[in-house]
């Protein structure tokens, strides 16, 4: 195992704030390095420097014996460093083969040699051992397949160092397994892989070495086998943490009437025959892998999807709500899975983001809204949810970290006083510390009589937050677990391994 890429003493500041304080990193060929850290620990900044997206303020990068004071996207690529971003950088309307050759189509006298394009795609896909139609349109592929195309593009461009930024965020378990298989094969062929994640179970599943960043420093690094879970968590957050623990058993009474009741509900083809009840005071998790239908049930409860069969009662009241505004009127709050695209108003102040669903309630005559009323709404929840911000109601929400943005979205529904809260993947892209705080807030809300339905594909989340868990697979509820019966292994088994 020869070191292929090494960075020494890398420093980087943004706006006068140093986010990397002299970081070293070594990636060896034939080895997978897991780069672990909470959001804001500096891992994205570090790999963006390696990929040539950022210029470091100090430090040196050595790739295959060549020394660089900094890289550009072009020189990084020439040196064989390729990064697979979380957001796909593909051309969805073009074919798989065209995407693999994107930016370097083989041509003769400026005419594209389409046969060579296909051959190149077939070669690399065969080498990777994936069965994908080179003529398929990339936009029509599933998320996992699109990721494979991105990796194929990197490989066919002679990538020696492959950087993956949280590649499993949107993948189903099978897709994750396939990706891991395939990363191992690449490793065995001699590629150096840097794998960024904040999911601890993945570190042991895939990596040979692990490096933990915290607040812009290397907190620890070494052979993965030398660390257990608790040690990694401690390195990430700087203090010992208990790992995946059940919340204390519910000590408060449930309401008598269900807040939400679904009877034989279906929204073909996403889910069918879903019967469930959520009582005031409990957290019910709807666990399923991507595509299992749990996200769609959550959408249906919020009126974003029409039921094709069955009935839904919200607060004992039947009838389908049409659209978000009507659902909110019936007392449903919704925290969408894609925070950036569906929840926050990025350039607007935090106070507005908190008040957005309650403007008419905060306004005089339902029309006249003041900054003062919004600021009050913001302050009501700022401390309760420990939102970390400049404590300035006018600060744009986009300047907050992911976890704090999510707290702002939660505050929006607390301000609204919704008695039923539907949350979809509530802690996706949220770091460990903020995650624990969000779980605590959810439990506290439940103790105050709110009914919470959490749709999630993160089984650790289910264990940490739910009173009751419904497991979904292929659009149906396949199991119901309660209390201490909710364990990661039970969840995984019931969902079909």
């Amino acid at each position: 195992m020869a070191t292929l890429l090494s960075a020494h003493g890398v420093r980087k500041s943004f706006g006068g704030v140093e986010v990397l304080h002299g970081v070293d990193l070594d990636a060896a060929s034939g080895s997978i390095l897991a780069l672990l850290g909470e959001n804001g620990a500096g891992k994205s900044t570090l790999v963006k420097i390696l990929a040539g997206d950022y210029v470091p303020d100090a430090g040196e990068i050595e790739i295959g014996g060549e020394r660089y004071s900094h890289l550009t996207p072009i020189s990084a690529r020439a040196a064989g460093v390729r990064m697979i971003h979380q957001e796909f950088q593909d051309a969805p309307t073009l074919s798989v083969a065209e995407n693999i050759s994107l930016g370097r189509l083989p041509s003769r006298r400026s005419l594209v040699r389409w046969r060579a394009v296909r051959e190149r795609a077939q070669t690399v896909l065969a080498q990777m051992g994936v069965d994908l139609d080179p003529d398929a349109q990339v936009g029509s592929l599933r998320v996992g397949e699109r990721q494979v195309v991105e990796i194929a593009r990197a490989l066919s461009d002679q990538a020696r160092v492959l950087i993956l930024d949280e590649p499993t965020a949107a993948l189903s378990q099978q897709e994750v397994d396939r990706l891991f298989d395939f990363l191992r094969r690449l490793r065995d062929q001699g590629t150096a892989i840097i794998y960024i994640t904040h999911r601890l179970d993945e570190v042991h599943a895939i990596s040979d070495r692990v490096q933990v960043l915290r607040d812009g420093f290397v907190a620890t690094e070494g052979e993965t086998s030398g660390f257990d879970r608790a040690a990694l968590v401690e390195a990430m957050i700087g203090r010992a943490a208990a790992g995946v623990v059940r919340p204390p058993a519910r000590a408060w009474e449930l309401g008598a009437e269900p807040m939400l009741e679904l009877r034989g509900a279906a929204a073909e083809p996403a889910f069918a025959d879903v019967t469930l009840r959520v009582f005031p005071g409990e957290v019910v998790a709807l666990y399923g892998k991507l595509g299992a239908g749990s996200a769609e049930v959550a959408e249906a409860v919020f009126g974003l999807r029409k039921l094709t069969a069955g009935t839904m009662l919200v607060g004992g009241e039947a009838g389908a709500a049409s659209g978000p505004a009507a659902s909110i009127g019936r007392g449903v709050g919704f925290v969408p899975a894609d925070r950036k695209r569906e929840a926050i108003l990025p350039v607007r102040p935090v106070a507005e983001n908190v008040a957005a669903s309650s403007w008419r309630l905060l306004a005089r005559f339902r029309l006249l809204i003041s900054r003062r009323a919004e600021a009050r709404a913001y302050r009501r929840w700022h401390d309760a949810l420990s939102i970390r911000s400049r404590n300035d109601p006018l600060q744009p929400v986009a300047t907050l970290s992911g976890g704090n943005q999510q707290k702002v979205v939660l505050a929006r529904w607390l301000e609204r006083g919704s008695p039923l809260l539907v949350m979809s993947e509530p802690t996706r892209g949220v770091d460990v510390g903020a995650r624990a705080e969000l779980y605590r807030s959810m439990r506290e809300l439940a103790s105050n009589g709110v009914g919470i339905l959490v749709s999630t594909s993160d089984y650790e989340e289910v264990v940490q937050v739910a009173d009751r868990a419904l497991v979904m697979a292929r659009g149906r509820i396949v199991a119901e677990l309660e209390g201490d019966a909710i364990t990661t292994s039970r969840l995984l088994t019931e969902a079909g391994g």
Binding site: F14, G15, G16, F302, G323, P324, A325, I328, G329, F334, P336, R341, E342, A343, I344, L345, P346, V347, R348, P349, A351, E352, A355, A356, S357, W359, R360, A363, R366, L367, L368, I369, S370, R371, R372, A375, R376, R390, N391, D392, P393, L394, Q395, P396, A398, R412
Partner: protein, 340 residues
């Protein structure tokens, strides 16, 4: 640092400026964040005033300032609802053609001896109707606002020519609105402009409707999921733009004493330039009426100065075009800085 509530309430509703704040310390950044986006425009305006005052003796006097206001009123009245629309991420390019159609319909009606009040209501109704059609096409059918209003821009201007048979239809007896000066030697149309500015500023700053427009522009999907009836709000925005068109059509007709297919050419161009110059982002979610008014005044002063300096008036269009490009470039730059 803790911000007291009163200072929070007094701060303008524009999103804090990100330009220039990125590389400074936290204290300075907080102060910079309090400076509204349009502060730079005040400087530009002052520089222009000083420049023209030195260049020509005819510039710096009350009569000329009133002239600038008169010349700015029409663009200003249109630019106010245009700001509301752009803040919500929408455009209305049909305003010029629609204004011409309103003058034509009014002139046709008025010269056929219909009572004045009927002709006025008809004109305003046509304006609001065009706004409603735009709003319907954008929110219900779901056509992009740019394409929709480019389409209605062509259609309305053509109808204005059809209505007038390609001629200007002149009339007498309706000059009060555009010409007479009720107070401080300032004509009605300027006072109307002032009232529109106050009304729209108030609704953008202090009403749930204004907040909804900002929210929709910042993130339409999130605004909808937060319970804002986005289509209804956007529709209302287009109707307001149409009402402003109705009013503007009456002012232009009164001022020129005719209805014509050639009326208000380039109005959409001037309005959008003023709005973008005033700091409203093409990406939506930011901007203010105050900024837009400063943008309108910058254009008004430049046009006026060009005339006073005896430069051919074609240069007005050159300057206006350049201003639009500069304004959009500044917007891009700001977005890029914000993204860092």
């Amino acid at each position: 640092m803790t911000v007291r509530e009163d200072s929070a309430a007094a701060a303008p509703p524009t999103a804090p400026s990100i330009v220039g704040a990125a590389r400074r310390g936290p204290r300075l950044r907080q102060i910079a964040a309090r400076v509204p986006d349009w502060a730079a425009l005040v400087v530009v305006l002052a520089v222009l005033v000083v420049f023209f005052s030195f260049k020509t003796p005819y510039f710096f006097n009350t009569d000329n300032f009133i002239n600038i206001l008169i010349a700015s009123a029409v663009v200003g009245i249109i630019a106010c609802p245009a700001t509301m629309l752009l803040i919500a991420g929408q455009f209305d390019l049909s305003v010029g053609g629609a204004t011409a159609l309103v003058t034509a319909v009014f002139a046709e009606s008025f010269t056929h001896d219909r009572p004045l009040i009927v002709s006025i209501l008809l004109a305003v109704g046509v304006g609001a109707g065009i706004g409603a059609v735009n709003g319907f096409l954008v929110t219900v059918i779901g056509i992009n606002a740019l394409i929709t209003t480019i389409g209605t821009m062509g259609v309305t201007r053509a109808f204005a020519f059809i209505e007038t048979n390609g001629q200007a239809i002149g009339f007498n007896g309706f000059s009060t609105l555009g010409v007479s000066r009720p107070l401080l030697n300032i004509p009605w149309m300027v006072w109307i402009f002032v009232v529109i500015v106050l009304l729209t500023t108030f609704s953008m700053r202090a009403t749930t409707f204004g907040r909804s427009l900002y929210a929709i522009g910042a993130n339409p999907a999130a605004a909808r999921l937060a319970g804002i009836r986005t289509r209804r709000v956007i529709f209302a925005g287009f109707v307001l733009s149409g009402l402003a068109v109705g009013l503007t059509g009456l002012l232009v007709a009164s001022q020129t004493g005719q209805g014509s297919g050639n009326a208000a050419t380039g109005l959409e161009f001037s309005a959008i330039t003023a709005v973008v110059l005033g700091g409203a982002s093409l990406a939506g979610g930011r901007g203010s009426i105050v900024g837009t008014i400063l943008g309108v005044l910058v254009i008004g002063v430049v046009n006026n100065g060009i005339v006073l300096l005896n430069i051919e008036s074609f240069w007005q269009d050159v300057v206006r075009g350049l201003l639009l490009i500069v304004a959009v470039a500044v917007d891009r730059l700001r977005l890029r800085l914000a993204a860092e």
